[in-house]
Amino acid sequence: MKRTSFRYVVPGVAALALTLSACGAGNEGSSSNGSGNSDAPSAASGLSGELRGAGATSQEKAQEAWATAIQGLNDGNLTVDYQGIGSTDGRGQFIDGATSFAGSDSYLKDEELESARERCNGNVIEVPAYVSPIAIAFNLPGIDSLNLSPAVIADIFNNKITKWNDPAIVADNQGVELPDADISPVHRSDDSGTTKNFTDYLGKAAPDNWSYEAEDAFPVSGGKSQAAEGTSGVVELITNTENTIGYADESQIGDLGTVSVGVGDTFSAPTADGAAKVVAVSTRVEGRDATDMATDVDRTTTEEGAYPVILLSYLIACENYDDDTEAANVKGYLSYIVSDEGQQAAADAAGSAPLSDEVATEAQGIVENISAG
C-alpha cells in the first residue's frame, strides 16, 4: 500500500512543482506589461536585498501582487517574503523582531503597542493598506439584490428571522417575490478577520439585535445555520445550496446575489467607492502616535453611498530601523503599497477598494519619514 501511494506522490509533486514555477513566471510577465498611469514613488526603486513580513491572510493576494510589482521595479534585486500566518502571529513576530513589517486585520492593542514601541525604539507606524468590502451574498434563484437593514441582517444571522418571506424582509423589498423557504445563514467555520469585521458591524449597527462581541470566531450556532472553511468554502457552499445567505470578501462572491445594506434611510450595495468612503469618515483611535492611523471603522455612518461592512487591514512597521537597507526597503515597499499604483495593483489582483486620496496622502506622508539610525 505504501508503495502504491509513493508511486503516485512522486510524479504528483513533480507536476505541482512545474505548475507552480510556471505560475510564478506568468505573474512576473503580467506585472511588467500592466503599467499603471501614475508613477510609482521614487523610494520604491533602487532597492536590494530581502524584506520579510508576515501577518493577515486577508492581505495575502494583494501582498503577492505588491511583492511581484516591487521586485519588477527593482530589477529583481529586492525580494519580499510575506507569510500569511494570521494577524495575531504577524503582530507577534513583528514585535519579536523576526520580521520588518506586519500585516494585521486589527490595529495593535494597547499592551502590544507598548512592546512594539520598545521594539522600534520609538514611534510605531500603522497605516491602512488593504480595504475590502465584505459582501452579504445569498442564493435565491431569480433574485439578484435585496435590501436589508442592519437589524434584519442581525436577526437573520442569529436565527431569529427564519423565513425568506418574513414580513421584516418583505417590507424593504416591495415587488420582489420572496419564497416561503427556510433561511440558512452560512458563516465561517475557521477563525477569521472577516468574521470579526462582520460581527463588529452587526454589533455596532444593530446593537439591539446583536448582543455578541466582535470576534474572530462566529458566535452563533444552531438553527438552520451552516459553516464552511475559508472565504472560498463559504462562497462555494452558498453557490451550491439554495436559500442560503452568508458573508464573504466582495471580490470572491462571483455571480451570487448581494444584499444592499441599510445606511441611514437608503440602501448601499457593496462597492469599492462605498468602502473607501467609510474609511474616510471613520474616526481615529485616540491617544496614539502621529504615525499611527489606527481607526475605529464607523459602522453607523449615515453618509449616502457609504458601505460600512468592510475589512480594514493595516501595515505595521517602525519609523526607525537600525539598519540602512532595512529602513530603505520598508520605506520603499510601504510607500509603493499606499501609492495609487500599489492600491490599483491590489484592486486588480484581490478586488480590494483603493484608499481614498485623503487617506492615501496621509499614509504616504507617514511612511516617507521612515529612516535609519
Binding site: T4, I85, T88, S184, D191, S192, G222, G233, N240, T241
Partner: protein, 323 residues
C-alpha cells in the same frame, strides 16, 4: 495517527532458536542489528518527543481564563468534551460502515472470487488509499453531500422519532457525511490487512471443514474467522486511528457549530478535535494555541488508550485460540 500494531502469529513451537540457526555472527549481522535497533529507537524517540511537546506546550492550556474556552464551554473539560464526542461519533460511524464492508470485500477477494477478478479488485481497493484526504474532502463537500440530502430527509421523515435523525442541514454537510467519507478512507486499510490474514488461513483447516460437509459460509465461520480474528482487530484499530486523527477531509466536509448534538444530520455540530485545531489555529486569539495543543494531547491519549485496549483484545483472542 500512530497506530502500531503487528499481527503476531501464534507461536509455532517452544524452542526459540532451533539448532540449525548458525551461532556464528558476521560483521553484516552486527551492522544490520544496529540499524534495526536504531530504527526502533527512532520511532520511540519521535513518539516521546511528540508527547513531551504536547505535554509541555499544552499544559498551560488546561488552566486558561474562562473566556478562552468560551467557544464551547467555560473550562477545559467543557471545551474538550464536545470535540471529543464528535471525534468519537464520526469515527464510530466510519467503523460501522467500513468494517462489515471491508471484511466482506476481504472475504470475496480471498475466498469467493476467482483470481482474475480478485487481483484487480484488490488493486482498486488499495488505490483508494492513495487518494489524498483533501481530494476526498473536495469531492464529498461539493458532490457527495448535496446528493445525500434526500436520503437524510427520508430518514428524518420516517425515523425522525429517533434523536439521531433530526433536522437535516440543507447542504448535507453533517457529521454523518463526514463519517461516511472517513469510512471510505479507512476502507482500504482494513480491507488490505484483513485480506492478508484471511489468505493465510491454513489450507488444511479449510479443506478439513469442507470435507466434514460444511458449506462455504460455515467453513469461513469455523476456520477463517477464528484464525484471522486478531489480525482483523488490528486492522480495525489501524483504521480507527486514521479516522480519529483525520483532519482535512473533516474540515472540508463538516459544517461545524458550537453545540454537540446526537442529531447526525445537524449543520452545527461541534467539529472533531483535529478539525478544530485546523480551524482555530491560524487567526487565533491569545491563549488559544495552548488550549489547542492540550486538546491534541487529549486526542493523543485517546488513541493511546484505544491501542492498548486493542492490544489487550488481540492478546486475549490469541490466548483463546491457543487454548
Amino acid at each position: 495517527m500512530s497506530t502500531t500494531l503487528t499481527t503476531k502469529e501464534a507461536p509455532a513451537g517452544g524452542d526459540p532458536s532451533p539448532s540449525w540457526i548458525s551461532e556464528r555472527s558476521g560483521r553484516g549481522d552486527a551492522i544490520f542489528k544496529g540499524l534495526t535497533i536504531a530504527a526502533a529507537a527512532l520511532i520511540l524517540l519521535a513518539l516521546a518527543s511528540v508527547f513531551i511537546f504536547l505535554f509541555t506546550q499544552g499544559f498551560a492550556g488546561f488552566t486558561q481564563p474562562a473566556e478562552v474556552y468560551s467557544k464551547y464551554g467555560s473550562s477545559f473539560w467543557g471545551y474538550v468534551w464536545p470535540l471529543l464526542a464528535s471525534t468519537i461519533v464520526a469515527s464510530l460511524i466510519a467503523l460501522i460502515i467500513a468494517v462489515p464492508l471491508a471484511i466482506g470485500i476481504a472475504l470475496v477477494i480471498t475466498q469467493y472470487a476467482p483470481s482474475w477478478l480478485s487481483t484487480p479488485v484488490a488493486y482498486v481497493i488499495d488505490l483508494l488509499a492513495a487518494v489524498p484526504s483533501v481530494v476526498y474532502g473536495l469531492w464529498a463537500g461539493i458532490y457527495l453531500a448535496p446528493k445525500l440530502v434526500p436520503i437524510y430527509e427520508w430518514l428524518h421523515e420516517h425515523l425522525g422519532f429517533i434523536p439521531l435523525f433530526g433536522d437535516v442541514v440543507s447542504s448535507g454537510r453533517s457529521i454523518s457525511t463526514a463519517g461516511l467519507v472517513l469510512a471510505i478512507m479507512i476502507l482500504p486499510i482494513i480491507t488490505a490487512i484483513s485480506r492478508e490474514v484471511f489468505s493465510r488461513t491454513p489450507r488444511l483447516h479449510r479443506e478439513a471443514a469442507l470435507a466434514l460437509g460444511a458449506t462455504r459460509w460455515e467453513m469461513i465461520r469455523m476456520t477463517v474467522f477464528p484464525y484471522g480474528r486478531s489480525g482483523v482487530i488490528s486492522a480495525v484499530m489501524l483504521g480507527l486511528g486514521r479516522a480519529l486523527g483525520e483532519t482535512m477531509a473533516v474540515v472540508m466536509v463538516l459544517s461545524p457549530g458550537t453545540l454537540f448534538t446526537f442529531n447526525l444530520f445537524s449543520g452545527s455540530n461541534t467539529p472533531s478535535i483535529a478539525a478544530n485545531i485546523a480551524l482555530r489555529y491560524k487567526e487565533r486569539s491569545e491563549g488559544t494555541l495552548e488550549v489547542l495543543i492540550a486538546t491534541g494531547l487529549v486526542l493523543f491519549l485517546l488513541t493511546f488508550a484505544i491501542n492498548f485496549a486493542a492490544r489487550w483484545a488481540v492478546a486475549r483472542s490469541e490466548r483463546k485460540l491457543a487454548g
